[in-house]
C-alpha cells in the first residue's frame, strides 16, 4: 500500500517537474509536492476522525442537536436566503451523500434517509492544495484542516476544489444573522467572521484544546436513545473508539475513489 502510494507521488512529482519546467515554472515540483504528500497517515502525528451511525442519526432530534450545538459553539449565522446560507454540519439525503453507492433499485426509504455531513478533514485535502495564501492548511499535530479567516482573501478556490461542498462563503456580513441573547451577546466567545471569507467545520479545535469533545458529538450523544451516534477520536491510536469501530464494523466514507482520504466515516 505504502509502496503504491509513494510510486503515485513519484509520478506526480515527476510530471509536475516536467510540466513545470516546460511552462517556465521550475520550482513547482520541489516545493509544491512536499505538502501534497501528507496524505500518508504517518505524516500527521495524530488524526482526529469521526464515525457517524446513520441508523441512529435518523432521529431528527439528533441532527437538530448537532446543528444547534455547532451553531452556538461557533456563532454561526442563520441566513435563510437560499444560496447565502452558512453550513458547518447539516444533513443531505443518502442518495446525494453516497451517490456511487445507490442504484435504480435502491429502496426509496434509503435514498431519502437524511445523513449528517460536515468537513471530512481529508488526509489529502484538495482545498489546502489550491489555497493561494495558506489560509487553509492541514495541522500537522492532529490532522485538522484549519482555516485562518484573517488571511483568507475570499477567492473561493477552495470551494471549487472541495468534492463535498463542505465550505461556505460569507456573501454578506454574517453578524446581524447570529442569534443573540436578550442582552445582545453572541452565544459563545468564538470569533465571529466578517463578510467575504470562507468558513467550515473545524472539528471544534478550540474545544479539543481544552480536552473536550466536539460540540456536536457531545450534544448528539446526550439525546435519549442516541448514545454512540457520533464517535470521535484519534485514528493513530489503535485503542481509540473510532479505531475500534472502523476495525470491527462495516463503514463507508464519501467519494473514496477521489483519493482525498476523508476522516469522517459512516456506519451504515
Amino acid at each position: 500500500m505504502s509502496e503504491k502510494k509513494s510510486r503515485r507521488d513519484f509520478l506526480r512529482d515527476t510530471s509536475a517537474a516536467v510540466l513545470g519546467a516546460g511552462a517556465g515554472l521550475p520550482f513547482l515540483a520541489t516545493t509544491g509536492c512536499e505538502q501534497l504528500q501528507d496524505h500518508n497517515l504517518r505524516g500527521s502525528e495524530q488524526q482526529w476522525a469521526m464515525v457517524i451511525d446513520v441508523e441512529k442519526a435518523k432521529d431528527p432530534a439528533v441532527r437538530r442537536a448537532c446543528a444547534e450545538a455547532c451553531r452556538r459553539e461557533h456563532n454561526i449565522p442563520v441566513i435563510e436566503e437560499p444560496g447565502d446560507e452558512i453550513h458547518w454540519i447539516w444533513d443531505e439525503t443518502f442518495e446525494h451523500v453516497f451517490e456511487d453507492q445507490v442504484h435504480e433499485h435502491t429502496p426509496e426509504e434509503l435514498m431519502e434517509t437524511p445523513v449528517l455531513v460536515l468537513c471530512n478533514h481529508c488526509t489529502n485535502p484538495p482545498c489546502v492544495r489550491v489555497c493561494p495564501t495558506k489560509a487553509t492548511w492541514k495541522r500537522e499535530s492532529d490532522g485538522i484542516v484549519m482555516m485562518d479567516q484573517h488571511r483568507c482573501i475570499g477567492c473561493r478556490y477552495c470551494m471549487a476544489a472541495c468534492p463535498y461542498a463542505a465550505r461556505s462563503f460569507n456573501w454578506r456580513d454574517p453578524r446581524p444573522f447570529i442569534e443573540t441573547d436578550s442582552e445582545g451577546n453572541f452565544p459563545s466567545e468564538y470569533p465571529t467572521r466578517r463578510r467575504g471569507v470562507v468558513e467550515k467545520c473545524n472539528f471544534c479545535a478550540e474545544r479539543l484544546r481544552d480536552g473536550l469533545q466536539p460540540a456536536c458529538v457531545e450534544a448528539a450523544n446526550q439525546v435519549p436513545g442516541a448514545e454512540g451516534v457520533l464517535a470521535f477520536g484519534d485514528l493513530t491510536d489503535p485503542d481509540s473508539e473510532v479505531s475500534r469501530i472502523l476495525a470491527e464494523q462495516k463503514t463507508m466514507s464519501r467519494r473514496v475513489a477521489l483519493g482525498t482520504g476523508p476522516n469522517v466515516y459512516y456506519v451504515v
Binding site: 446525494h96 462563503f169 467575504g196 477521489l258
Partner: protein, 388 residues
C-alpha cells in the same frame, strides 16, 4: 511620444468620454458590491464563480494570442506582420490588465489580495497564474516600448531585447496553460478535469485574439492614415481559420469521450449546456448560438475566396469572437459547478450590479487600449512622411 494620448480630434475625445462614463458606472456598481458584499451578485454557495472569473478566462486567451503575431515576425522574419506586432502587444497589455481587474473584483476581501505575494504558496495554481500574468504584462510593456521607440527613431531594436522577445513566446503559452490548470486539476469538478482543457484554451485563444486584432486593424485604418496592411490582415484571418478548426476538433474529441463512454458525470455537464438538465436550460440558447457561429465561421473561413474578402471578414471575425466568448465567457465556468457535489442544480444569472462591474472593467481595458493605439497611430502617421 506619450503626449499624443492627450491630443486628438472630437471623435477621439468622444470615445474616451464613452469609456469614462462606463467606468464611472462600473465604479458605482463596484461600490455597491464593496459595501454590501458579494451577495449583490448572482453567485451562490453552489455556483461560487460567475461572470467575473469567466471574463478573466476569456481575456487570458486574448492576451496570450499576441504570440500569434510575435512568433511569425520574430522567429520566422515574417515581414507582413511588421506593422501588426505592436498592435498585438498593445492588446496583450490591455487584456492582462482586465484579467487582473476581473480577479480583483471577484475577491471577497480585495484589500487582502497582496496576501498571495506575502504568503507565496507554490502548490496553488492561483499563485502561479498571478506570477505568469504579472510577468507577461511586464514582458509586453517592455518589448512594446523598446521596439516601438527604436522604430520611431528609424533604428533597429537593440540586440538585448531579442532574447526577451523569445522568452515572451513560451510565456504567452504558459499564461493560458496555467489558467487551464486552475480548473483541470480539480478532482471535484468532472467537467473541468480534462487533459485537453489547456490545449482547448490555447486553440480558442488563437482564434479569438487574432479575430479581435483583425477588427481593431480594420477600425484603425478606417479612421487614420496608418494601415497595418492587407497582407497582415489576411494572414491573421488564416491563423483564425486554422485555430478555429483545431478548436472544433478539440471540442469534438471531448464530446466523443463523454458521449461514447456514457458516464453520467461526464454527460451531465454537456446535457446541461446543450439540452438542459432536469428542466434547467438557462444556457441552452447561448450554447446553440455559439455552436452555430462556430461552425458557420469555420466553414466560411476555410474558403479562401470568402476569407480573403475584406468586406466579409469583419463579420466572420465578430462571429468568431462571439462564439469563443460564449464558450469561455458564458458556458465554461458556470457549468463546472453543475450539478454540485451534492447533486443540486443551481442556475446562475449575473445581476445588474455584476454586469455593470463587468462592463466597467471592459471599459477600463478599452480605455487603455484606446490610449495605447492612439500613441501608436500618431507616431506611425508621422513616420509615413518622415522616415527615410
Amino acid at each position: 511620444m506619450l503626449e499624443a494620448a492627450f491630443r486628438g480630434g472630437k471623435r477621439y475625445w468622444a470615445l474616451l468620454g464613452v469609456w469614462a462614463i462606463l467606468i464611472l458606472m462600473g465604479l458605482w456598481a463596484w461600490g455597491q458590491q464593496y459595501t454590501q458584499g458579494l451577495t449583490v451578485t448572482g453567485m451562490t454557495q453552489d455556483v461560487t464563480w460567475g461572470i467575473y472569473i469567466a471574463q478573466f478566462t476569456f481575456l487570458v486567451g486574448v492576451a496570450a494570442s499576441a504570440v500569434m503575431v510575435v512568433l511569425p515576425y520574430y522567429l520566422h522574419n515574417h515581414r507582413a506582420f511588421g506593422r501588426m506586432v505592436i498592435l498585438g502587444e498593445g492588446l496583450a497589455v490591455a487584456s492582462v490588465l482586465m484579467c487582473m481587474l476581473f480577479i480583483f473584483v471577484d475577491m471577497g476581501q480585495p484589500s487582502r489580495v497582496v496576501n498571495v505575494l506575502l504568503h507565496p504558496t507554490l502548490n496553488s495554481m492561483m499563485f502561479w497564474d498571478m506570477m505568469a500574468l504579472g510577468g507577461y504584462l511586464v514582458l509586453n510593456l517592455l518589448i512594446g516600448a523598446v521596439t516601438f521607440d527604436a522604430e520611431r527613431r528609424c533604428a533597429p531594436p537593440p540586440g538585448w531585447i531579442k532574447p526577451i522577445i523569445i522568452l515572451s513566446i513560451p510565456w504567452a503559452v504558459s499564461i493560458h496553460t496555467v489558467t487551464a490548470f486552475l480548473y483541470s486539476g480539480l478532482e471535484a469538478r468532472t467537467f473541468w478535469m480534462t487533459a485537453i482543457l489547456a490545449p482547448r484554451f490555447l486553440a480558442s485563444a488563437f482564434a479569438s485574439g487574432p479575430a479581435l486584432l483583425i477588427l481593431l486593424a480594420l477600425i484603425i485604418r478606417k479612421f487614420s492614415r496608418f494601415d497595418p496592411g492587407d497582407q497582415a490582415i489576411r494572414q491573421l484571418a488564416l491563423i483564425v481559420a486554422y485555430a478555429m478548426a483545431v478548436n472544433v476538433f478539440f471540442v469534438g474529441v471531448e464530446l466523443f469521450t463523454a458521449l461514447y463512454s456514457d458516464m453520467p458525470h461526464h454527460i451531465h455537464a454537456f446535457e446541461y449546456l446543450y439540452v438542459g438538465l432536469h428542466g434547467h436550460d438557462a444556457l441552452v440558447p447561448w450554447m446553440w448560438t455559439g455552436a452555430t457561429l462556430t461552425l458557420a465561421s469555420v466553414v466560411l473561413l476555410l474558403i479562401p475566396k470568402i476569407r480573403n474578402n475584406l468586406s466579409i471578414l469583419p463579420f466572420l471575425a465578430v462571429g468568431v469572437i462571439l462564439a469563443i466568448w460564449i464558450e469561455k465567457g458564458v458556458g465554461m465556468v458556470v457549468t463546472g459547478f453543475i450539478p454540485s457535489p451534492l447533486g443540486r442544480i443551481t442556475d446562475y444569472l449575473p445581476t445588474g450590479v455584476e454586469m455593470a462591474v463587468t462592463v466597467g472593467v471592459y471599459a477600463v481595458g478599452f480605455l487603455i487600449l484606446t490610449l495605447i493605439y492612439k500613441i501608436i497611430v500618431n507616431v506611425r502617421e508621422r513616420m509615413i512622411t518622415s522616415c527615410p
